[in-house]
Symmetry: C2
Subunit: 288 residues, 2 copies
């Protein structure tokens, strides 16, 4: 089965502490969360790098989810490790350490068979690398990009070069404020759209998410999760549900994008109900 | 025409500075915002007190909106004055001074004709006074109460006595977190409902508002206002649209409450588009 959507991003082993417990070196990373979620919708290829410490059970987990691993590299060294904790209110994470390890010199190699992928998700990596990947893909139907404060502060010129090539820009509220230089949502999304992306999706955590184009705005509340366990990966899972739905259906209408926001919301809620990717050990899509 | 809804709250002259300009001693106060908005829906009575400096043009404004003034008192002294400013991002207001003046000894006198009012809104005053008013009203259909951090910190036992008597509790997000002792929306509204109100409405500013009962939750986004001028009174205007719609229609269904959330949203957006109550100099309800 040909790959319908490709994600380029991080593969990680996360050490996470939340009010509900603590887990050490569990499978994580933006490309892993995204591809796992997308696997419930359509055939997805993961481009990323891990180290020799990346356990076979993790590779097996991806294979069990039919994630295509042609662009998956395992190299000498250690896997990217993020060590963080969430306070009692599950607000912003506190990062204790970020060991990039093999991810530091990540130079995404897009397999030739991925060059004509219709859907591309550039998870949170250096915008110069994101741009490089965009340039390797021929005539994609939809390119989406996620970024973060680190790149907005440290690689703004590259990010500004990438944005006009992007159909959907994903950010959270703080990142939207930072990149737009304004602190009101209405003015933020207008300024972000002026930077080139056709559509902006702003993730608002427990308050949901909103999307805007030059002519449309749409807001979706969060699915209320009384059993929140671990917010890690919520954003990439949202993007996975959003992009997975679009890639599965080929939808390009405004209504289709709004429905994609709902799929993103639902998939994000699955992720945060358990630690890491545990929810996807049991989740089954009965419709495919 | 009999009064259908009664509000008890503040009458103020506000000195407000926002990125869009500055106004000195303009008509304001929770009961004034609320009753002005409700006047677009149904007959409303205002119970409040002002001083001798309260200009006739302000009384005329209320009369022009057919606000019933039987419970409106003008006494010796100065009117409550709030002096505050909003930063560039129109976030939380900075209070420069709060001169309670005649409002300090406000002891709401409910006219006998208001004792059988079906709808009652207790705007943000001391919870002991709110409780006193509740006890004077015979068999109301719906009692709503607004409060703030000042009372949550300083008059919690009184507030806790009032809450079980309340059908709808209005608060903003920070107040909801403070009163519930939690910092997640889902856990906050559950804890607030345990304190006695049948329904909670949490106002989320530019992100909209949510409402919850023991069995239902509903979320409404804000109406995007690119021409935000002055956020003062947004919350009381939201409550006004919400309560005005319910009082006008007699709706008691869940769908009715959801529709009330939309009316609240729309009326709040009218208020913030201009300074103070300026929007209501020109706004006309063509349906009544």
């Amino acid at each position: 089965m040909t790959v319908n959507i490709v994600v380029v991003g991080s593969i990680a082993l996360d050490t996470v502490s939340t009010p509900k417990g603590k887990r050490d070196r569990v499978l994580g990373g933006s490309a892993v969360y995204f591809s796992t979620v997308v696997s419930y919708f359509t055939r997805v290829g993961l481009v990323g790098v891990c180290g020799r410490d990346f356990g076979n059970e993790n590779i097996q987990f991806l294979k069990d989810h039919s994630v295509d691993l042609e662009g998956f590299e395992q190299v000498d060294g250690l896997t990217f490790n993020w060590n963080g904790s969430y306070s009692d209110d599950f607000g912003d994470a506190t990062t204790h350490s970020t060991c990039l390890n093999v991810f530091q010199s990540f130079d995404p190699k897009l397999p030739a068979s991925y060059a004509s992928t219709p859907y591309l998700f550039l998870a949170n990596i250096h915008p110069a690398l994101q741009l490089k990947v965009i340039e390797r893909v021929k005539a994609p139907k939809l390119v989406a990009l996620d970024t973060m404060n680190f790149w907005i502060e440290g690689a703004l010129p590259d990010l500004k070069k990438a944005l006009p090539r992007v159909d959907v820009l994903f950010l959270n509220r703080q990142e939207a404020y930072m990149l737009s230089g304004t602190k009101k949502l209405v003015s933020a999304y207008k300024k972000l759209l002026e930077m080139g992306p056709k559509r902006v999706v702003i993730k608002l955590g427990e308050l949901g998410a909103m999307t805007a184009t030059q002519s449309e705005t749409f807001f979706v509340p969060a699915f209320p999760c009384p059993n929140l366990s671990d917010p890690t990966g919520a954003g990439d899972s949202f993007a996975g549900g959003f992009m997975g739905y679009l890639a599965q259906t080929g939808e390009t209408s405004e209504i289709g994008f709004r429905r994609a926001m709902l799929y993103g919301t639902v998939m994000g809620s699955f992720t945060v109900e358990q630690f890491g990717l545990d929810s996807y050990n049991t989740l089954v899509n009965k419709s495919i």
